[in-house]
């Protein structure tokens, strides 16, 4: 194995007069950046930032961190509106940019919530894809300092009778249940929608809600020179490395590395231990900064912690506990092994931190420290393999102003109104229509799914399926509570993405309001096709504008969310599907309003027109 170290990269760059040679070609330094998904100009930019050829580990880090998934490079310019147009809100304690937004719900409590997608993994391996989707969002919430208290799962599948739906749906539902039930988080709502446009691109979105006291809020930043970086949780394996094995294979001899699985397997038991252990170290005030490991694994956690903090960071990568001893450093940096967290801890508190981890049977290892420089430096058996300014990896990636254009079929689609549909002409036809509506999988009772989810655990579930919104009690003495609903309608959005996104928000807002809770904040998961398609980009631009405008009017800021692009098969994209989650607060959960008539003689009023 030949190590690609920083010194070597420097030497290489000296003898090549590449800076004068104009654009760097794919083979200038023989680096497989195209295979890693980097464009020519992106690679050029890395070379400019470092003023030398990147090492293979640096290249790996930049390539994953600058991917669409991690950098939001196509969506960033549009997402900015959520901040710019955000209504003044006293409730917002932490906004967009952190792992999840945090909202003040009174009585000293803060609530954090966020919805995320795990669409592509769930298509490849439905059970594990959906399970690790729950695992990932729960760690995001945990990383804010909160105890996770509930989950929800907005889902979209292809036609109900399509053979692939039969493969995907049971796996997804079992995975969400298998992981969420085992974590002991009540599932308090979600959606199930069938539409042929999601065949080949099912949407598996997962939402988690967490509760903490104001003083418990934690942020993902590494500060305080000399503080230690502790990696804890599962051992690192070769999971989810994907394209990076291209790099790794370069560093192996002819036999090549074992095939690295793109699929990650979740271990909810390990995550449950991670939750209890993390809450205990929070309670003893042992943590300065914390970050969960999700997409892009250690690359993301180390660069984000260092970037957001003051000072630099030094990491000894060979200290990372491995499940597979053959992993190369690039692979360790990229591994998406689940159920891991990274904490920044003062030296005096390390011993106690490790004790608590041991109590919960959680492996914890000091892998580095916060330095007084401004570089992220990573070593492999004392050889330096990464030396980068962390901001350039984590927060200053490329930003694209992708071209967008209203699709030429949009007018025809909008002109094709419901008036032209055949109407039932007699009682018989009306009956048939009604039966079809009632029997449609989209309207049918969902308990065949929701009965596979535990809605009772933790003993604070006030409303769950089949209510309009889920509601949980936050304080047993005062009966303070929160309500959450998620909604989205891809068909409306396809017709008019601007209005469609607003309708999704309005629906979730109403669902929360009708329970008696006061809507406070919004999270969203924006599921779209390829951003490289100007038509899709137009849908995205319209939907984000619609949502930002509506949030301004309703006074509910967007506190966080997630973008999922490339939900398409060949040239055909899914319907634009922004899923909107609204969180509300209710001062006394005993005064909630459930759906349905409770007593005889109640009066029915219709509001609106």
């Amino acid at each position: 194995m030949t190590l690609d170290t920083v010194d070597k990269a420097k030497d290489d760059s000296k003898d090549g007069a590449w800076l004068q040679d104009g654009p760097v070609g794919a083979h200038t330094f023989g680096q497989p950046y195209a295979e890693l998904g980097l464009k020519d100009d992106e690679y050029q930019r890395i070379v400019t930032i470092l003023d030398r050829r990147p090492t293979s580990s640096e290249l790996a880090m930049y390539s994953v961190m600058w991917s669409e998934h991690c950098s939001y490079k196509s969506s960033k310019v549009h997402l900015r509106q959520f901040g710019e147009k955000a209504p003044a809100s006293d409730a917002m304690l932490v906004g967009i940019g952190e792992n999840a937004g945090v909202v003040d719900v009174g009585q000293g409590y803060a609530v954090t919530f966020k919805v995320e997608s795990h669409n592509h993994p769930s298509y490849v391996e439905p059970y594990q894809g959906a399970a690790t989707g729950i695992g990932g969002i729960v760690r995001d919430i945990l990383a804010m300092g909160a105890r996770p208290v509930a989950v929800m799962d907005p889902l979209r599948f292809g036609a109900a009778d399509h053979p692939d739906t039969r493969r995907v749906l049971p796996g997804v539902v079992a995975g969400i249940g298998g992981y969420g039930n085992c974590l002991g988080l009540p599932n308090i709502g979600g959606e199930v929608v069938f539409d042929p446009c999601y065949q080949g691109n099912p949407l598996v979105n997962a939402l988690c809600v967490g509760v903490m006291k104001h003083e418990d809020i934690h942020l993902a930043k590494a500060s305080g020179t000399g503080n230690l970086v502790i990696l804890y949780g599962a051992r690192t394996g070769g999971d989810g490395i994907g394209g990076v094995s291209v790099l790794a294979s370069e560093t192996f001899d002819a036999d090549g590395p074992a095939k690295r699985p793109a699929v990650q397997v979740g271990d909810p038991f390990q995550e449950k231990l991670l939750i209890e252990c993390t809450l205990e170290v929070f309670a003893e005030d042992l943590v300065t900064g914390i970050q969960d490991l999700g997409g892009a694994g250690l690359s993301c956690a180390t660069s984000e912690l260092a970037s957001a903090g003051s000072g630099g960071m030094r990491v000894d990568l060979d200290k990372v506990p491995l499940r597979d001893a053959t992993l190369a450093p690039e692979e360790i940096l990229m591994s998406e092994s689940q159920e891991r967290m990274c904490a920044i801890v003062e030296p005096a508190k390390v011993e106690r931190f490790l004790e608590i981890c041991a109590k919960w049977d959680v492996i914890a290892t000091v892998i580095g420290e916060v330095t007084d420089g401004d570089r992220l430096e990573i070593f492999w058996h004392d050889e330096q393999i990464v030396d980068v300014p962390p901001r350039t990896v984590a927060h200053e990636g490329p930003v694209y102003e992708r071209p967008f254009a209203r699709p030429d079929w949009q007018d025809a689609l909008q002109a094709d109104g419901a008036e032209s549909l055949p109407r039932p002409a007699n009682a018989e036809e009306l009956r048939a229509t009604l039966l079809r509506v009632v029997g449609s999988p989209n309207l049918a009772d969902k308990s065949w799914i929701t009965d596979q989810y535990d809605r009772y655990v933790l003993g604070n579930t006030v409303l769950a399926q089949p209510e309009d919104a889920g509601m949980v009690r936050v304080d047993e003495d005062t009966n303070l509570g929160v309500a959450v609903s998620t909604d989205g309608n891809g068909r409306f959005c396809k017709l008019d993405p601007y209005a469609g996104a607003q309708l999704a928000l309005a629906e979730a807002y109403r669902n929360v309001a009708t329970t008696g809770a006061r809507p406070l904040a919004v999270t969203d998961c924006l599921n779209f096709g390829s951003p490289e398609d100007p038509g899709v980009m137009w849908q995205f631009a319209e939907a984000t504008k619609g949502l930002a405008d509506a949030c301004q009017v309703l006074g509910t800021p967007v506190t966080g969310g997630n973008v999922s692009f490339y939900n398409q098969t060949g040239e055909v994209a899914i319907h634009p599907t922004p899923v909107v989650g609204v969180l509300g607060v209710i001062d006394d959960v005993t005064r909630r309003t459930p759906i349905g008539f409770r007593e005889e003689g109640q009066i029915i009023l219709l509001l609106g027109d």
Partner: protein
């Protein structure tokens, strides 16, 4: 009647939380010296008629498409002498 056994194991590179939990428990119960445990599934199929190459090929296909999830699992098929 013949018995065909299909063993399905997680691929070596895939995390096996069950096997790990068992391995961690063994020393606590006083069983030392086990360096790794993997847990998989064993299917015993009772086959009507002769288990010839054609029948085995069919069972292999059933294992590949149904009994194992080849995204994360490997399998072996063998006839068991009874």
């Amino acid at each position: 009647m013949a018995r065909v056994v299909v063993d399905v194991m997680l691929k070596p590179e895939i995390l096996d939380p069950q096997g790990q939990a068992v391995q961690r428990a063994l020393p606590r119960l006083g069983f030392a010296g086990i360096s790794d445990v993997r847990q998989g599934k064993r299917f015993e199929l009772e086959v009507e008629g002769p288990v010839d190459d054609a029948a085995l090929a069919r069972i292999r296909e059933a294992a590949e498409t149904f009994l194992a999830n080849t995204v994360i699992e490997d399998f072996t098929v063998r006839v068991e002498d009874q």
